[in-house]
């Protein structure tokens, strides 16, 4: 069981109060959206940061993906707001 590394950036990290964590590998067919919902259900900073999934973007193993993507064998999930670089 390798687990899934989750990384938080920008105000997602500020809300949750940490820059990442490792969780037990979810079922292969779990979508990112479903995982976000389960994390938000923890309440507190999680609910604040993850309660409005339309404001979130995700990357799975360092590639941008839609939130309905299933996590599958991915090792790293990042959750963040739309990017504002450049």
């Amino acid at each position: 069981m390798a687990g899934l590394d989750i990384l938080y950036f920008a105000w997602v990290r500020d809300g949750i109060g940490r820059d990442g964590e490792r969780i037990d590998t979810p079922a292969r067919d779990t979508s990112i959206a479903a995982l976000i919902e389960s994390l938000a259900a923890r309440g507190g900073g999680y609910a604040q940061a993850l309660g409005q999934p339309t404001r979130l973007r995700a990357a799975l193993d360092q590639r941008f993906v839609p939130l309905d993507t299933v996590i599958g064998d991915a090792r790293e999930l990042a959750l963040f707001p739309p990017v504002t670089g450049g």
Partner: protein
Amino acid sequence: MSITASVRTDDFDAAVELSALEALGGGAVASFTGIVRGEGDLLTLHLDHYPAMTQMQVERIAADAMARWPLLGIRIVHRVGTLRPGDRIVFVGTASRHRKAALESCAFLIDWLKSHAPFWKKESFADGRESWVEAKAEDDAKASEWLSPTP
């Protein structure tokens, strides 16, 4: 063909970047430099990023530009950390034998960086307020104009 991309906290020298592109012999060098604007009592701009992903993103962007235009070189510099009004944030430079290729690819790369590179800006103001910059719909729209035919 020469591609360099760096993500760094310290300032960069646009002249050094330009000289490297000029030396490639293509005849046409285009550049874009982004600088922190000092509006509304902005004190600092903090740039957060996702380091592991940034490198992959920038390599993909550069490869995409190479596939679209006949380029001799691409240089991308993106700063992270804490910046102040007047500081440079980003540089994109391209070299080609064709000015259209140099200019268009430069515009493409900066649009792409704005909308697809994993950077986030937080503004801190003189009165103590702090806020993360919201993405502009405009930036998403600009990037869509270049909608990639590559897989």
